[in-house]
Amino acid sequence: MNAKKKARIAFFDFACCEGCQVELTNLSDPIFVGLLDHVEFVEWREVMKEQTTEPIDIAFIEGSFTRESDRARLEDIRNRASIVIAYGACSATAGINAMKNHTTDYGEFVYGKDAAMPHLDSQKALPISAAIKVDYALHGCPIDRAEFVRVVSDLLHGKQPLIPNYPVCVECKMRETVCRYDLDDHCLGLVARAGCGAPCPADGIPCEACRGFWDNPNEEALEEILRSKGGLSAERARDKSRMFTATMRRDAK
């Protein structure tokens, strides 16, 4: 990227709730306006009518790859962009959309006799890396705003962004949050990728691993602990980590 020129940034979305894009509107006025000193938004359907035919420096893609018909649009974005970032859980790991992947009857279950209508087609939810090469991932449901700013800043400075690769438990210890297991609850923090600052246990609820697994999750131990310490039934302990990590589990289809 030319240091004198503003970086050309674009946002795109597939199957998702667009909440990760909305998070940027919560950045506050000094940060958002400050960002505009360094970057230029060239395409962002949710808030802009403008589009571009010129190359894009950084493309942020939100949402999962769920329809073969979306492949061409993903490839087009890849061809136009120097750097592609999977933006948020749906894009990075298929996130919550992949909760349906282990079932086969979701179409009929939802639409009944209308399920065969061609426009209602949907295959398994996959991360966008199943269709195109992805350079970096911003994890989380939603993404962490501070991490977004840091990654953009790193890229503008020609630095390799560092995405944390250790469990959320580390962050709970750092902020001295009492462990959910010590409060007669359960938690996925021990296998979840950190980087969020562990807000959920601090807010009184379990970590659901929305940033996906870290690179070395012990799934057998998780299931055992969910049963023995978390008090979950064998079935719940087995299925618990499907909420955000269905595509990362050993039994992923």
């Binding site: 709730c17 990760c20 950045l27 306006v33 808030v47 909760m99 209602l120 807010d203 299925d239």
Partner: protein, 438 residues
């Protein structure tokens, strides 16, 4: 008049989600005018099957990134209804403040970032940064404040953490609540400036009327947003009410070929939900300051102009801020304190409804004796509005053609119409199932 017009807006911009506008006119004859929804469906129903009641709202919140608070509240209310949980008066009031925060937050986003560029003649908010810096900075400041307002009580605004069945998982301190109250009072200059900004471009809001039915939650106690019964007002002003449990008899969802979202209708060919529907149903209960603004704009019920939905949102921006001050005063007066969760008394089927920014939202779930979810259904306001948008198109296009508007003007008029509804298209293609299976 022999005219050919071909409008094909693929993936309409400055709306949440993916929608298309298609209009074909050949030799002056309208061959096609459609509002299409090609958004990828996401099958939330298949996700909540087999999930514990404590997890369900965390999943269904993800239906929408803009109204995640509303989905969380509707979901938790439906679960509480199914589990025989009656929340405390303090929980009811604090959740209403959270609901107000979301409606304020989303309305600010819509008015400033999605609608205003049309009225300022800009393609997006970004060209306005150098020319209208103060307006853009104010918009971002108010958006950030709305986020902090909601997050103080809900933990987060995008997929809240603290709102759980039975009450709250965590609380702010009393000092933080008092600080929020003060910041709502200090908001006045920004509220005044927002009103002035909208007044300066209000004459550019298109005039178009089509009589339709308006549906909203309604309550004898207050301008309903967190709780109430279903009410509709007909073009002749007649109102009728239904219990929330009977929501299916008024929403009547059906599948159409041009949309991955279902459509709805009640007594007429379609109905409208959202800020204008709330305004038309419950005007008398608005805060006096909000009514004063409506009067200054000569805006009164019944209003049949869908473009005025954005103006109704502005009226609600004032209402939500003022009513939150009242609610916080009551909570603080009654002795604010963290409360224990109310425990389930039974497991069965329950419904919940709230007013999200885009209108009335319904959730329903079925739980077995272990508290495991066996089925669910969500009916989203944008689904309820798709049919009304289509019928507006069918009334508006012939009028624009008769007025000899050119293709660009017709296209902009239709884009602005869809944007006025503030559609939340990802929401409307969430797909939860209508029938229950055991």
């Amino acid at each position: 008049v022999s005219r050919n017009i071909a409008i094909n807006v693929h993936h309409l911009t400055r709306v949440e989600g993916h929608g298309n506008i298609v209009v074909n006119v050949t030799d002056g004859k309208i061959e096609k005018m459609q509002w299409q929804v090609p958004e990828a469906p996401r099958f939330f129903e298949a996700m909540i099957r087999g999930r514990h009641y404590t997890e369900v709202a965390r999943i269904t919140s993800r239906i929408c990134g803009i109204c995640a608070i509303g989905h969380t509240l509707a979901s938790v209310k439906a679960t509480e209804n199914a589990l025989g949980i009656d929340v405390t008066p303090q929980t009811f009031k604090l959740r209403t403040v959270i609901k107000h925060a979301e409606n304020f937050d989303s309305h600010i986003l819509h008015i400033y970032f999605l609608v205003a560029p049309d009225l300022f003649g800009a393609p997006s908010v970004f060209p306005l940064v150098p020319t209208h810096t103060e307006v853009v900075v104010r918009a971002l400041r108010m958006k950030r404040f709305a986020h902090e307002w909601g997050a103080l009580l809900a933990g987060r605004t995008t997929h809240p953490t603290r709102v759980i069945p039975g009450g709250f998982a965590e609380y702010p301190t009393e000092a933080e609540l008092k600080n929020l109250r003060q910041r709502l009072i200090d908001l006045q200059p920004d509220l005044d400036a927002t009103v002035q900004t909208v007044l300066s471009v209000a004459h550019k809001v298109p005039s178009f009327e089509r009589q339709t039915e308006y549906m909203a939650l309604s309550s004898d106690k207050e301008y309903a947003v967190y709780d109430g019964v279903i009410q509709t007002v007909m073009p002749d002003g007649k109102k009728q009410r239904w219990p929330v449990a009977e929501y299916k008899s008024v929403t009547n969802e059906y599948v159409v070929p041009q949309s991955t979202a279902k459509y709805s209708k009640n007594k007429m060919g379609s109905y409208m939900a959202g800020a204008l529907a709330r305004f038309n149903n419950n005007y008398d209960q608005l805060h006096p300051e909000a009514k004063k603004l409506a009067e200054a704009l000569k805006f009164k019920p019944l209003c049949f102009n869908p473009y005025m939905n954005s103006v109704a949102q502005l009226v609600e921006v004032v209402h939500t801020a003022k009513d939150s001050i009242r609610l916080l005063d009551e909570v603080l007066r009654d002795g604010f304190k963290p409360e224990e969760l109310v425990k389930p008394k039974k497991f069965g089927r329950g419904q919940g409804s709230v007013e999200v920014p885009r209108g009335i939202l319904f959730h329903e779930y079925d739980y077995d004796e272990e508290g495991i979810c066996r089925g669910g259904n969500c009916i989203i306001p944008t689904n309820q509005n798709h049919g009304n948008i289509q019928l507006d198109f069918e009334a508006l296009v012939p009028r624009l053609l008769a007025a000899k508007e050119d293709e660009k003007a017709i296209e902009l008029g239709l884009e602005m119409l869809v944007r006025a509804y503030d559609p939340c298209i990802s929401c409307s293609t969430h797909y939860l199932k209508v029938d229950f299976k055991r």
